[in-house]
Amino acid sequence: MLYNQKDLKVLKDEIEFIDTVIIPFAAMDMDMKAPVHAGNLELLQIVCVQLEKQFKGRLLITPPMMTVGEDTSLLGMYTTQLREYGFKNIIVLTHLQAEPGDMNKIRLNEIPLENMSDDMKMEMINDEVKTVMKSVISIWNQ
């Protein structure tokens, strides 16, 4: 499910089935590494689109949460809300190092997409999606 009016309506009635939330978490620092952050954000979004297709019925994918200086305080606040709403599994999907407390984290690889041919891109992204899907399933099987 996505954070839109239609899906949120479904979510309300089906929270028992849609028990997992994914928070895409990304940096938007305007520093030397800005281009890297931008690339990471792009990958993160593609992975999320694929996750949504595969697991729509069990996941809420929130809009991306952006941060600077790797600050995670907002994430902490959000997690509390999500728990109160009724989600059992909270998963942060990110390239960042930060170790958020009370939640699962799936770390994405940094892939320099811009220098790749389309086929290569596709292959790398597919691999990444596959890995993330496996991680999600293993969280479900915990």
Partner: protein
């Protein structure tokens, strides 16, 4: 608008059938995540030719990708979806991979314990090969069907409709 699907090889996920992929480079603007397309799927209508040969279709369901342009209020984008296609006698059947419970993607033989069924990994939904949902699992109806045809030996995919096999 009907267009031949590019011969790009979509990689098969071994884990489960992920067919769909956006065209590379057509990265969704951030806002797209929160927006619900208001005017959807207009570009369809005629049959879409795929890159899979009809003669390659057997009784074992396989993924067949098809791409079309989707126009909504603000964007035009190329969307790639897929259907499960198999042969039944002299008929070719195409089923939607979208689970009728809450919309995850189902896989043929995705569960080791059920080698001849469609399996939904989200809440262990099961369907017979003809799309019939198996009672006792969460799905609320059979998988949708697609119009399917043949053009120059290639499979073509048309409109989706309610399952008429079960």
């Amino acid at each position: 608008m009907s267009q031949k699907v590019t011969r790009r090889q979509f990689l098969n996920y071994s884990l489960m059938g992920v067919g769909s992929f956006m065209a590379a480079g057509a990265i969704l603007p951030m806002g797209r995540f929160a927006l619900d397309p208001l005017f959807q799927g207009e570009a369809q209508g005629s049959m879409i030719t795929t890159s899979v040969k009809a003669e390659e279709i057997t009784e074992e369901p396989v993924k067949v990708d098809f791409s079309y342009e989707q126009q909504d209020a603000w964007y035009k984008s190329e969307v790639t979806d897929f259907v499960w296609v198999y042969r039944d006698g002299d008929q070719i059947i195409a089923l939607s991979p979208i689970c009728k419970h809450l919309g995850c993607t189902v896989t043929w033989a995705g569960d080791d314990a059920n080698p001849n069924k469609f399996f939904c990994p989200c809440h262990n939904g099961l369907y017979e090969k003809n799309g019939k949902n198996i009672p006792g699992t969460p799905p609320r109806g059979p998988l949708d069907q697609y119009e399917v045809g043949e053009s120059d030996g290639f499979i073509t995919i048309g409109e989706m409709f309610e399952n008429e096999l079960v």
